[in-house]
């Protein structure tokens, strides 16, 4: 009997296996460690892409599901090892799988000490992230959610910049504090619903009274809002990004933050639609606040990496705005924008990393006129910036357009304010690009910079292809998400009609009491 490798378990645990293999290699065998890491992530990318292609977008059901009994909690609640993929997770799984080999290749340039440990943590992190997206058991989800903190903690703390220890501990404690409150809510939910099966919890939680839902939603959303990070919980992100090594930043921006937005969609909106309706105005307001505030923050930065980190706050504000517009267009746009942000911001961080490896500074005023010395670099940077600001024909445009469309349906005012973010985004990113690439070449150190080499170009090409592909044919990607998102919108509609009914019913109820 042939062993089927095209399963979610293989996808999730193959990176961990690779990490263990690397851990067993001798310390000095850097080539072997890099080789194993690259091969593993390539295999993961292959399996991930294959599964995403096989995914049937016309069904909202969980696919490729795997179930095995795990252990029993007091009260006879059976915890299972349950994996499955649906339209909400499919694109994010694909993104995580594809970014793997790219990140590994990018480390050739900037990770020279303790390579072995780095590769181990990098691969372990991929297991954690894939597990978060694919878990269908609340306990399993929580296990992946928290353990995925550890690898980044090490990556930031060991290979980070000067203030890395401060940034590392801040990052860890911030996100950990958020998730423990979620744990208490999860304990209550599991005990009340008597199951840890996420698919069943979605139905049970959705039928709970709105007040109960709101408490649970608040606890879950806090954890996710810190991870996203949503204003005003964002302060850990610029520090973490600035201090992280390039590959850490790419993973952080590319995938890790998406765990927060994914959580908001799955364990916020889909699980507690009644509460999401109540919270939507607040969450949208925070999203818009993040868009504008992040943009202003970015404009004030002189460190180019910090600038991109702040732009992340702004861009993720869009994702949250689109999610809590609670319209089909908004949800589709947000889901796509999660991937878009991963690709274009990932690309930006890669490029900043490459120039940093050559010039060892990230101060904007240390550059200028680089385009003449490094034309290929300039080409890629301009492409990444255009993709990030949402040039029509590239990926960012589709996502932002859908989000604004969805927001317009829910609240034209917020959509109008959010549009300013698009303008600001164009301003600060294009200004930074101009300062770096064009103008006179004032600093003599910049004259001898070498342009990108073959490896660097090769590792960025897949991202470029995807950016264009999403921009030109977004439906190839969106089609896979539609059925699942319709399931989400139908839950929201159900909650909305229940709310209308209860509002209409309230006066009658009050009269009854008064009559008594």
């Amino acid at each position: 009997m042939a062993i089927n490798v095209m399963t979610l378990s293989v996808l999730v645990f193959l990176p961990l296996l690779g990490a263990l293999l690397i851990a067993a290699t001798p310390k000095k065998a850097v080539g072997m460690q890099r080789g194993i890491a690259l091969l593993t992530t390539l295999a993961v990318a292959w399996i991930g892409i294959a599964l995403c292609l096989r995914f049937d977008g016309s069904s909202a059901a969980m696919q490729f599901t795997e179930v095995a009994p795990w252990f029993t909690l007091p009260g006879g609640i059976d915890v299972h090892y349950r994996l499955g993929m649906d339209g909400i997770s499919v694109l994010l799984v694909g993104l995580t799988a594809i970014l793997g080999p790219i990140v590994v290749l990018s480390t050739w340039g900037h990770i020279h000490v303790r390579v072995k440990e780095f590769m181990v943590w990098l691969l372990a992190m991929q297991t954690g992230m894939l597990g978060v997206f694919l878990s269908l058991d609340l306990i399993l989800f929580y296990v992946f959610w928290e353990t995925s903190l550890i690898p980044l903690y090490f990556i930031l703390g060991i290979w980070g910049g000067e203030r890395r220890l401060y940034a590392t501990i801040k990052f860890f404690l911030y996100t950990f504090a958020g998730s423990v409150v979620m744990l208490i809510a999860a304990i209550w939910l599991i005990w009340t619903a008597e199951t840890t099966d996420v698919v069943r919890l979605l139905d049970i939680a959705g039928r709970m009274p709105v007040e109960t839902q709101t408490w649970l939603f608040a606890a879950f959303a806090l954890a996710f809002a810190i991870k996203v990070p949503l204003m005003p919980f964002h302060t850990w992100l610029p520090d973490a990004h600035t201090e992280a090594p390039t590959s850490g930043s790419v993973i952080l921006a590319g995938v890790l933050l998406k765990m927060g937005t994914y959580g908001l969609l799955r364990y916020g909106i889909q699980m507690f639609p009644g509460a999401a309706l109540e919270a939507a105005p607040w969450m949208m307001a925070l999203g818009v606040l993040g868009i504008v505030y992040g943009a202003f923050l970015a404009m004030a930065q002189t460190d180019v990496k910090r600038l991109i980190a702040c732009s992340s706050v702004s861009h993720l504000g869009y994702v949250v705005l689109g999610l809590f517009a609670l319209t089909e267009a908004g949800l589709r746009g947000s889901l796509l924008q999660m991937v878009n942000h991963g690709l274009s911001t990932g690309l930006l961080f890669l490029l900043i990393g490459m120039i940093y490896e050559r010039r060892h500074t990230r101060a904007l005023d240390q550059y200028g006129g680089i385009a003449g010395v490094m034309p290929i670099f300039a080409l890629f940077l301009v492409f990444a910036v255009l993709s990030s600001v949402g040039l029509p024909g590239l990926n960012g445009f589709v996502g932002e357009y859908l989000i604004l469309l969805g927001t317009w349906e829910a609240s034209p005012w917020l959509a109008a304010i959010a549009v300013t973010g698009v303008v600001f985004g164009a301003i600060y990113l294009l200004m930074a690009t101009r300062k770096m690439l064009f103008g006179p070449l004032v600093h003599s150190e910049n004259k001898s910079l070498s342009d990108l080499n073959g490896r660097e170009v090769a590792l960025m090409l897949p991202i470029v292809v995807l950016c264009v592909w999403i921009g030109v044919q977004p439906n190839v990607f969106l089609d896979r998400t539609d059925a699942s998102l319709r399931d989400v919108t139908s839950r929201i509609e159900h909650a909305r009609s229940a709310r209308t009914a209860s509002i209409e019913a309230t006066p009658v109820h009050r009269l009854e009491i008064e009559a008594r």
């Binding site: 252990f71 029993t72 353990t147 060991i158 860890f172 423990v180 304990i187």
Partner: protein, 480 residues
């Protein structure tokens, strides 16, 4: 008449119920006998390990059967007490393994050390099985007196003797309070058995009895190092020899909790709020004080106080928890995870300490990941488990304890408690930071020395921490 009593005492049931205690007691006698003959002394380790094996075997015999109640209902053996006994065997094994080759000047006293260790273990077994205030007291003293001696075992060192004396004075004081409390309870209720005290629903109207119960609880709080009876812990843990600290941190706490659980059912329901408040204060006191420690043993001592507070939260929830036996299972699991985690962590400290001869500080751990990657990795695992990160036993223990609080409708207390556990990560992470993210300090270097037994024990502890976190199925089904 006499033969009747004799046959009742020597019945199969009695032997089964007191099996683990008998195993330890016989082991102690055998070891004393071995000490008489120099030629027999190489057998010491064999006898010691055989005793542990016999105790474990005896414990498993009563683990799956019905509850056995012997000696007029003053002593019981059921699945819970058997689980505790197994845990005590593990605790003793850990302390013993890390103690090998640890004592330099006192190497010739190893025999005494082992005898004291086994005697203390027999006391713990007695404490866990007792359902009578006096039987518990006998167990408590059988545990405490050898521990006083063990704490001061490195008699050439001032701090060790100081720790022994401190522990002795304060411990005797606690024992006196306990006895006074038991006397009050007897005066008020006319019984010393837990079942008899539980049967009295008018406990609150009996000032004498309720004062007595409060004194009993205070004495037990002293043993499990709960606020405000925790102040002795850092000094004693720091001064005592590290293997003994391991034993005190895990064993004493476990044995006291094992008795506190049945005793809690004798408390009035109204005390739940007070116990929850004490639990949270303990967590706060332990965690906040640990944040500023530099000495590793002191830090782990304060962390142990915080963990005692966490477990006490489950005791507070016991009154309103609809899940019968939930608190007992939670505390057992938490304590098992804590035993392997803290046991392993203290054990690694004994290894580092034995090599340098100096106390281990956070500063001295800097750059350890490069020098001793194995020790650094294991210590990291233990720190993560103490911090309650998933995939370790510490996480599931935390989950079970806070489940009790949530089910018992104490959600605000649960939220405050779990946020206090975030504070704890602040110092656990600082240790990991020192080992992995800071370069080696120049003043202290740690030379490599092989202690195969201790290394193997550390490995077993690490494996158990992972097993309890990833494959807890067997423990959750059978250990309750």
């Amino acid at each position: 008449m006499n033969s009747d009593i004799a046959s009742r005492i020597l019945s199969q049931t009695t032997l089964d119920a007191s099996g683990p205690f008998l195993a330890f007691a016989i082991g102690v006698l055998l070891l004393v006998f071995l000490e008489l003959f120099r030629a027999l002394q190489p057998l010491r380790s064999v006898v010691f390990l055989a005793t542990l094996a016999a105790a474990a075997w005896a414990a498993t015999r009563t683990m799956f059967g019905p509850e056995l109640s012997v000696f007029e209902g003053t002593y019981v053996a059921n699945s819970t007490t058997s689980s505790w006994s197994l845990l005590f065997v593990a605790t003793t094994l850990i302390a013993w393994a890390f103690g090998r080759k640890y004592y330099r000047e006192e190497a010739h006293l190893e025999g005494e050390h082992d005898i004291l260790l086994l005697t203390a273990a027999s006391g713990m077994v007695l404490m866990a099985g007792s359902r009578d205030l006096l039987v518990f007291f006998v167990g408590l003293e059988t545990l405490s007196v050898p521990l006083y001696a063990l704490a001061g075992f490195r008699r050439s060192r001032r701090e060790s003797v100081e720790a022994g004396l401190k522990y002795f004075v304060l411990g005797s004081f606690a024992a006196a309070i306990y006895l006074m409390g038991a006397a009050f309870v007897y005066a008020g209720t006319g019984t010393l058995q837990l079942s008899g005290i539980q049967a009295r629903s008018d406990l609150l109207e009996q000032p004498l009895a309720i004062t007595g119960v409060a004194m009993l609880v205070a004495a037990i709080f002293f043993k499990i190092s709960v606020f405000p009876f925790h102040l002795w812990v850092p000094d004693v843990y720091q001064g005592a020899p590290s293997p003994v600290t391991t034993f005190m941190a895990t064993g004493t706490k476990a044995a006291a909790f094992a008795f506190l659980l049945p005793l809690a059912f004798a408390l009035p329901v109204q005390s739940a709020g007070l116990i929850a408040a004490i639990a949270l204060l303990t967590m706060a006191a332990g965690n906040l004080a640990a944040l500023v420690q530099t000495d590793m043993k002191r830090l782990l001592a304060y962390s142990g106080i915080a963990h005692a507070g966490t477990m006490l939260l489950a005791i507070a929830g016991i009154f309103t928890d609809p899940e019968l036996g939930g608190a007992s299972q939670a505390i057992l699991f938490y304590m098992a995870a804590y035993t392997f985690t803290a046991g392993g962590a203290f054990g690694l400290l004994t290894m580092l300490e034995a090599q340098t001869g100096k106390p281990v500080t956070i500063e001295s751990l800097r750059g350890l990941a490069q020098k001793r990657p194995g020790i650094a990795a294991a210590l990291t695992l233990f720190m993560l488990s103490l911090g309650g990160i998933p995939a370790t036993g510490g996480f599931l223990g935390k989950y079970l304890i806070f489940s009790v609080a949530v089910r018992g409708d104490m959600i605000p207390a649960a939220i405050i408690g779990i946020l206090l556990s975030v504070v704890a990560l602040g110092y656990y992470l600082r240790i990991v930071v020192a080992m992995y993210m800071q370069s080696e300090s120049e003043t202290q270097t740690i030379p490599a020395e092989s202690r195969p037994l201790a290394s193997a024990m550390a490995l077993v502890c690490a494996a158990m921490v992972l097993v309890l976190g990833v494959l807890p199925g067997w423990f959750l089904t059978n250990v309750r």
